[in-house]
Symmetry: C3
Subunit: 460 residues, 3 copies
């Protein structure tokens, strides 16, 4: 026991890494980050035109900040509590989610700033950069779901360093080089985060994980805590997908489409959850996760003229494949491909993300001035050039998906091998899914937790 | 046991109903639903005047969407978690709430669209229709509270089909035919939902429900989960009541009035909860529910010049009658009128809803141009005609209450008898208030749950 | 037992106090409170200029209400659930928080209205007064954290009466007489609330509190409930600090600075929490509390040109001193100074509040037209006069801190002695941190709770 306790001891590793990272962040922020025009006391006023009173109301703060706060809730409460479903991993789920999100949003501000264009050598920040940083953080938290319970906080921070960096590069290729549409991140966030995480967990494969099998499940109240995460993700997904679209009808339409997609997805989830169970009983795992797939699947096409009708079809499909994935695919991935996917991110983010990318490509290819009118160029930036070619647009969307998959799998592979080094204090196979390794618990001894007697009590 | 398990087996019933309903919804949406001008790429731009930049900021999205999200939280987190107070019914409370809300908001979009006027044969959707659909959903969830623990998800969906339809008709009669004011839905949402649900539960009366009595109560942590629901409902009620008022001072005033009403209601709730207990102890049931009655009771008059003073009086009264209702009326309703009202919706929505309707009628009858100035026609639509007659306005408000009560009781009666058919897999009297019937639970066998030994453990 | 039960019996005390207070509030609101121009049907329209359609959009509701709702969530969910960490005090934490907040926001509306200037003998209310009342309520809830588990609800209401009153006076001295900047309340809210509460708990010192020691700790799920509070406070703190700044760049900048300060603070918290533990294990107490210190510490300087760089340094420092305070200072305060600080408010609000005041003074003293341009007078009101003297501004900020500390300590002293009268039904030393005294609990007898056997079960 003492050996194990030592090997997972965070006393030096975690403080050292956190402090070094934060000091680097502070130095880089000091050297490179500036307020943008809407947050700068001098610039905001310098740019103001005649009518002073009105202008303050035009600050982008008033049109983006409510969306930002909804996204922020999804990142910290949504992802954090969704992962509390494990019976003895609630502290780590919410806590490590908190830690790596707080790090990632700072690091993402820098990486996205570097890649997407600096202003005279400076990165400009404001509410839009805050949303984008939270988006990037989301993809790290998706990957966290695959390795949940099997990694130390130091591993997670190291993973975040690499994933955020690669996310920014991939996002740049898609949005700036390929001119792709992906406002809600079906590709950049969900597909990327899912396949990155799946590759990491593949490389970190643990043949003896069944030694912790008794802890890799939920108890009654842990499932209720997880539902807090689910419901918040579900409710605010319309805000997520619409947070950085163009103002006006695109933002409004994105929220509406997402709302309908999620509603249809929820009915599909309940239907197929009961259908795949011999006794017709619903499974909390499906409700907690698959009901959200509808939001993922309209992450690309949501801002387009997908119509409520189209959104509902996409949502219904997403919920269906997600439940079927949990039931039939996840066990196969584990036994055949050695992919141990704790939260089933392949079903919630992977397949629905790819579906979303395909839907986006098709919807792009079908876009026309007849449907969009003058609004076309507000959705498809290259329509402004006058050389509007919806088929090639659809093609670029498809290429974007391929690029994302490649970047994610390659990045996950490299990162996985880096995380495999035996220096991070990863938990032993016998003590995965266990808060006691990294958290001080009153009245709880580590070895107590794993006993059947304890298990019995936990289930009450 | 096997017979019971079969009779409540959802394997075919629930998937079949969900899939059929969603397919019908999708077909009807495809045929009938269109983006409105604020969400349509072509229409939004077509309607724009000269100054393009400003116009995007004028999209109704920016003035309604924050309210929508608050309402959305109330529907899914507020109602969902409020009902988790039962010790073994948390999955069903949050889960079925989720299912029937996701269905109802789609169905409500169609029903409200049909009834309130189509545009060239099409239903136009946008953020306002989203709010209205959520409102209609709220009334279904109120009724759910009365039958909580005693119905299968199939029954709940069938109830929602009928209730949403009748809600739309009643709403049309009140708002369009009688010209009633009811922005926060004291009548259309609360009174309607409450008396509809009470009638349904009356028809579904179970003489042997005491066989499940030991499960019809809370445990320590289930009461804390319920408080999540309570607090969210309480905090966002100002957004609920103001979500669809006219822009400007009416919306602002409604939020303010509701805020004061709820604050006063909370003090009344604590006061009377302690007063009616022999040992002066507070009862979580009162705090969880009665503290919200102040929001219900200003649902009609909130947009009027009720003043903070008036709002506080109404809130104080609402909290008082609600606590007294829980203590003295609910047991009588059950023993004498055979109304088994699990959540006590009569105390939270029924009586406070009627109080709100009466307050609305009186406040309407007292309205005058002297108090409202040019703002009169922004609160009372028929003041625009110039033939302003506050007394007849008050009269129409009173008639609206009577119509609502009649529609609700009649609708509940018919729906109750439909739900009585033995085809929906309703739980037997011995297994009400029990998640195990409809949910897969790890480490839990159905028959284990009901034993006193299990009860003992649950209470810890 | 019967004597104790009697002495803490709330049956007459609590209803009497609640009803008397609410009646007084209603009478005073009736006599003194009026809608302000943005909420008044007559005034809003009277003040409107030509273009009617636009004007409704300019109602302050649309620019303040989303911030208000975020603040409201912090007050009721944030503070309420943060304090549920105690194993047997969850009902009281959320419930008494609810009660005293509902009272305080009404009382604060009056007190702040009196002190900050009436309009022709009337107090004008609207969304800004709602935010200010919630702010004042926040300081009462901070003080509640110090005495948590050791006071009856009657004591808490009496404390709120005095604290709100003194808060309004102190706020007036700082903001109106000394012209201090303190938009996020490092001084007015956090420093004031913390030192007031610490003095109250000092006066109420219980030498035999160790008789309730076994209940003064958390269990697994109570810590998860507390994390709900923590995360909501953390996410919405940018809204809190920016809620009443000037429109435009100051509001935008404040939110941004707070966001970065909190992110840096979180990394510091995790680092030092692991560092101060012999086994390198994280402590939930630190994560739940110290991670928030970054929001407190930019409460004054957040609206200034602190830069993200500066905000991160401040946040990192705040998290560091907060963790060290929990580890090393709190035990000393208890053993040497007899300050029993249940939630450790000295570490979360006290020291970070003072740090925030100092940072604010320094940042003020460094402000210049070169950095702020024409924006200077939008942050520093007295810059409008033309006699801008940053050094004296910094000096006034420092004086403001001294005044706040004096007011808080003096007010806490007097209030503490008032609360010491043996008439409020305070819990005996043997039954602190125990819901059973004031709450009806199904299946729980009071004396059962304190047994070691029960403790054992609670820990499962």
């Amino acid at each position: 026991m003492s050996t194990m306790a030592e090997s997972t001891n965070m006393r030096l590793r975690l403080p050292l890494l956190c402090i070094i990272l934060e000091v680097i962040l502070i130095i880089l922020f000091g050297a490179l980050v500036e307020y943008n025009d809407d947050t700068h006391a001098k610039m905001w006023n310098a740019n103001k035109s005649h009518s002073a009173t009105r202008d303050d109301y035009e600050n982008e703060f008033y049109y983006r900040y409510p969306s930002f706060q909804d996204v922020h809730v999804m990142i910290f409460v949504g992802f954090g509590f969704l992962m509390t479903f494990l019976q003895r991993y609630g502290f780590s789920s919410v806590g490590f989610n908190f830690l790596i999100a707080a790090f990632s949003l700072q690091w993402a501000t820098l990486m996205q700033g570097f890649v997407h264009g600096m202003h005279h050598g400076k990165i400009h920040v404001g509410v839009t950069s805050m949303i984008n940083a939270d988006f990037c953080t989301g993809s790290v938290l998706i990957s966290f779901g695959a390795v949940l319970g099997k990694t130390s906080p130091v591993q997670l921070l190291v993973m975040a360093i690499f994933e955020v960096t690669l996310f920014a590069v991939n996002e740049f290729i898609l949005l700036s080089m390929l001119g792709a549409n992906d406002a809600g991140g079906s590709m950049t966030i969900h597909t990327f985060g899912a396949y990155f995480g799946l590759m990491v967990t593949r490389v970190l494969y643990r043949p003896n994980l069944d030694k912790s099998k008794h802890r890799n499940s939920s108890v009654y109240h842990s499932d209720l805590f997880a539902m807090i995460g689910t419901i918040y993700l579900w409710m605010f997904w319309p805000s997520f997908n619409s947070a950085i679209t163009n103002y006006g009808d695109p933002q409004h339409r994105t929220a509406l489409n997402t709302y309908y997609s999620l509603a249809a997805c929820t009915l599909a989830t309940f239907a197929f959850s009961a259908l795949v169970n011999p006794e017709g009983k619903l499974d909390m795992v499906h409700i907690q996760n698959a009901a959200l797939a509808g939001g993922v699947a309209v992450g690309t096409a949501g801002e387009m003229m997908l119509t409520p009708f189209g959104s509902m079809i996409v949502g219904f499909l997403a919920g269906t494949i997600s439940v079927l994935g949990y039931k039939y695919l996840t066990p196969v991935l584990e036994s055949k491909l050695k992919i141990q996917d704790t939260c089933g991110i392949h079903n919630l983010h992977g397949m629905p993300g790819v579906l979303g990318a395909v839907v986006g490509a098709v919807t792009s290819a079908l876009a026309s001035p007849g449907v969009y009118g003058h609004g076309l160029q507000r959705v498809f930036a290259d329509a402004e050039t006058g050389k509007w070619n919806p088929q090639s647009r659809g093609g670029f969307q498809a290429i974007s998906l391929a690029v994302t998959l490649g970047m994610a799998l390659f990045g996950g592979l490299v990162t996985g091998f880096i995380l495999k080094l035996p220096i991070y204090g990863a938990p032993p196979d016998t003590h995965c899914f266990e808060d006691g390794l990294y958290w001080e618990e009153e009245g709880h001894e580590l070895n107590e937790v794993a006993t059947p007697n304890e298990m019995e009590k936990l289930n009450s």
